[in-house]
């Protein structure tokens, strides 16, 4: 069978397409749930209307986004069985448990309380309604944890034994699966990266409105919240990325050597900025690199020995038998760079933005602005940026708002493709994982079906987001400002139109 259309290749493409697509919505959902909850908390505590308007605005975008996250997530739950039945048979005893935990503990929580939040504005007292969005946020974070524990087991299997008789992996220590350092580091990194996505999203949209001098009061607050989120999340993403990188150097040296296109091991290995390699011959033809930095990233010293791709391939051949244990090197190399590049570019712009819009003690009196003014962008003391430069900043913030999302996608492509040819590292190979009974035609049908549907939905979703972004925060109604004080709403309001209806 033609390799390009082999069921394994098709199943991998399908998994890649559906999962990367699903993960476009996930980080935004995680971060916007919490940020919206934060804004609503500010409304409940201060009664300042700008916070309620901000809650409604970001909440609407959050809902448009989470709808897509939820429905594309259904596919994830079932495609292991559909396309990867031999994988499911081999790992179900271990891998199924965190997935089931995720559904029972996190999905129920998230999906039930989101319904209460959407429809509950005129049915629930202020504080209970607020609690609902926090429940949603907790649900999203719990979900992140369980699914990453499952993925971490594929990266670094622990707490299991192989049952030769049944030909499968069996769980021996669930607690170890949940708390191994891979799981904790991946969780830390994924959550912080998710907040980087939400922060940059907020900054970009706030910049869009501020550049047009519209909805200033709400957007000033949003800009500030977004920038602080970007800077904190960006910093923590870098820290957690470093932690995760060190874990990976120990657990999957091949992935990290591939990320650096480091063909031969060396002491004081360099960090490569750019490389063009020859995979067949196993070396780079062109390379620009900074000496010692790779060793530092792996080990905190500039001189330690880092094994190269060729060394590790040889070692794995001795350990696991003949074969090629190298992942796709160019993909690993570039996805690693794009992940860091896009993510950190956004972090850098966040720091710049936070400095430009600084307040109070850092800013001279003459530069300070009121609640209804677009903030002055002040680079140096006593002098605001020229209108042209200010505009450039707003435009940059807008056009780079999806950088962290791109970084997230490349991060997943890197960590999943960097693990190949293994699906469970060192235990089970991807080629053994596909469904033997599923035909090429079936996989092709589902791949084309999902891809076409997802493409159409992407267009619909983006158009809808643009519409609501441009519309800006809604005006508040009488009902918004007078939420009920008893659960279920007051009897005298029983015949009023619903505050929200489909």
């Amino acid at each position: 069978m033609d390799l390009a259309l082999a069921p394994e290749t098709l199943a991998r493409w399908q998994f890649g397409i559906t999962t990367v697509y699903h993960f476009l919505f996930v980080p935004l959902t995680i971060s916007l749930a919490a940020l919206t909850a934060g804004l609503q908390t500010a409304w409940v505590r201060t009664d300042n209307e700008k916070y309620l308007r901000a809650t409604k605005f970001w909440g609407k975008l959050f809902l448009i986004n989470i709808a897509m996250g939820v429905v594309t997530g259904i596919v994830q739950e079932f495609q292991f069985g559909m396309n990867w039945s031999d994988y499911s048979r081999f790992v179900g005893d271990v891998f199924g448990a965190p997935l089931a935990f995720e559904a029972l503990i996190a999905f129920f929580f998230e999906s039930t309380f989101i319904g209460l939040w959407i429809f509950g504005w005129d049915k629930l007292p202020k504080k209970i309604h607020l609690a609902c969005i926090w429940m949603v946020s907790i649900g999203t974070i719990l979900s992140t944890f369980f699914i990453l524990a499952a993925n971490s087991w594929m990266q670094h299997p622990v707490g299991y034994r192989i049952n030769e008789e049944r030909g499968r992996a069996e769980l021996t220590d669930f607690w170890h699966v949940l708390t191994q350092n891979t799981a904790l580091a991946q969780f830390f990194h994924t959550i912080t990266a998710a907040f980087l996505v939400g922060g940059a999203f907020m900054v970009g949209i706030a910049a869009f409105h501020l550049a047009r001098k519209k909805h200033i009061r709400v957007m000033r607050t949003s800009l500030r919240l977004g920038l602080v989120t970007v800077v904190i999340a960006g910093l923590l993403t870098a820290v957690s990325g470093d932690v995760l990188g060190k874990v990976m150097f120990k657990q999957q040296p091949m992935k990290m050597a591939a990320a650096e296109a480091l063909w031969e091991g060396e002491d004081g290995a360099p960090f490569s900025l750019f490389a063009v390699g020859d995979v067949a011959k196993g070396h780079n033809t062109v390379e620009i690199s900074i000496p010692g930095v790779l060793s530092f990233l792996a080990d905190d010293t500039f001189t330690s020995y880092i094994p190269g791709i060729n060394d590790i391939n040889k070692a794995e051949q001795e350990k696991y038998g003949p074969g090629d244990y190298r992942p796709n090197i160019p993909v690993a190399f570039w996805s690693f760079r794009w992940m860091i590049g896009f993510g950190m570019a956004s972090f850098g712009l966040g720091i710049l933005g936070l400095w430009l819009t600084r307040r109070k003690f850092m800013l001279p009196e003459s530069m300070r602005t009121g609640e209804d003014d677009v903030p002055n962008l002040v680079l140096f003391k006593n002098k605001a940026l020229s209108p042209k430069l200010a505009k450039l900043y707003w435009i940059t913030a807008l056009w780079t708002m999806l950088f962290p999302l791109i970084a997230n996608s490349w991060g997943w492509i890197f960590t999943e493709m960097g693990r190949q040819p293994w699906v469970v590292y060192g235990v089970f190979q991807t080629r053994d994982a596909v469904s033997p009974g599923v035909s090429q035609g079936e996989v092709l049908t589902s791949m084309i079906g999902f891809t076409a549907l997802y493409a159409v939905l992407a267009v619909i979703e983006v158009k809808l987001l643009l519409k609501y972004v441009k519309a800006g925060p809604p005006e508040l109604t009488e009902a918004d400002l007078n939420p009920p004080t008893r659960i279920g709403g007051h009897d005298q309001d029983a015949d009023r139109p619903m505050a929200f209806s489909y």
Binding site: L63, I64, A67, M68, V70, V71, G73, I74, E77, F78, F80, G81, M82, N83, S85, D86, R89, G92, D93, V94, G96, L99, A100, F101, A103, L104, F107, F108, F109, S111, T112, G115, L116, F119, K123, L124, R168, E170, L171, F174, S435, P436, G437, V438, E442, T445, S446, F450, L453, L457, L464, K467, I487, G488, A494, D495, P497, M498, S501, Y502
Partner: protein, 333 residues
């Protein structure tokens, strides 16, 4: 009773929860064309399930996830074997979820009409396909010695399974119309009752046929008891809606679904997916299940979490307990 038997029961419970709850959601979706006369009425119907449909659908994800964890072989054989029907169900559920959330987000006539068509079809198709799927599971499909499904798509479309699909479609639509009568006010409520009565009678005929067929082919004493419970409670549900007792009718249409699912699982046990080629190749609670350690952890989790889920989902229904009518639907989109 061993742990894998407990999990057989728990999987049945999760599917029962799913068919009970998403059953009336699917029914409401079908009723948007069968019962509603205009857009306002369609919106009344959709909004009766607005706050809850998403939580209801998680019962499916839980059933899927729990099957993966507790019976990996069952999960693998079922979903790789019933590949194309499942694909169609997934596509429907994706479009359906988006349709609910996005329908009112733009004022254009075409936009709203398209999503309304989508809601109807993506409710109807899974309502049929789940019945077809369970009919095939009970009947037995071509499974070889390696637990792989070796039949094709047409093998799944046999008369027995198709009858099963019609039963779930009618039963869910009946369940949905009773729910509509229970949750709405005004003209539509009276029509929902009347439609429920008609649908109930049609459901009774189909369900009796399907369940009797099931009992004749695969039944045992326990499944007979479940079958009688299902049929009797369906009759009670129909009588109650005729008498205008919507709450009772809904409770008994729920009992009907529960008893029908129970009957299917009782005819299966101790198999989870019998092979029509050779009895030795059946997937059973023992050869398809996970290790005792995994099942023990899962039991703790499900034992603690499921009651809590029922509590807060029940609370949601209480919060949105008031009936809604056309006057509750704001004109602006």
């Amino acid at each position: 009773m061993e742990l894998h038997d407990v999990w057989f029961v728990l999987i049945a419970v999760l599917w029962t929860g799913y068919f009970f709850l998403e059953g009336f959601d699917f029914g409401i979706g079908v009723l948007t064309k069968l019962l509603a006369r205009d857009r306002k009425e369609r919106r009344v119907l959709i909004n009766t399930i607005g706050p809850v449909w998403d939580g209801n659908e998680v019962w499916l994800l839980s059933a899927g996830g729990a099957t993966f964890a507790a019976f990996p072989e069952w999960y693998a054989t079922l979903f790789s074997g019933f590949y194309l029907p499942l694909l169609l169900i997934l596509i429907c559920l994706i479009v359906r979820g988006v349709a609910f959330e996005y329908r009112a987000k733009r004022p254009e006539e075409r936009w709203q009409t398209n999503w309304e068509h989508a809601i109807f079809w993506t409710s109807l198709i899974p309502a049929v396909l789940w019945g077809v799927a369970f009919g095939n599971i009970v009947r037995g499909v071509k499974i070889d010695a390696d637990m792989e499904y070796v039949g094709n798509l047409w093998d799944l479309l046999n008369p027995y399974a198709i009858l099963g699909g019609l039963v779930t479609l009618f039963l869910f639509t009946f369940h949905g119309s009773v729910f509509a009568a229970l949750k709405t006010v005004g003209d539509i409520r009276a029509r929902a009752r009347w439609l429920a009565l008609k649908l109930g009678l049609a459901t009774a005929v189909l369900a009796l046929g399907f369940l009797a067929w099931t009992q004749a082919d695969n039944g045992n004493g326990w499944s007979l008891a479940a079958m009688i419970t299902a049929v009797v409670s369906l009759v009670v549900a129909i009588g109650a809606i005729a008498a205008g007792r919507e709450g009772w009718s809904f409770a008994f249409s729920g009992v009907t679904i529960t008893a029908a699912v129970a009957m299917l699982f009782l005819t299966l046990f101790p198999n989870v997916m019998p092979s029509s080629l050779n009895d030795a190749w059946n997937l059973t609670v023992s050869n398809a299940s996970s290790s005792p350690y995994t099942l023990k952890i899962m039991t703790w989790c499900a034992g603690i979490v499921t009651p809590v889920v029922l509590l807060y989902q029940g609370w949601t229904y209480w919060v949105f307990r008031k009936r809604i009518g056309t006057h509750h639907i704001a004109d602006a989109h």
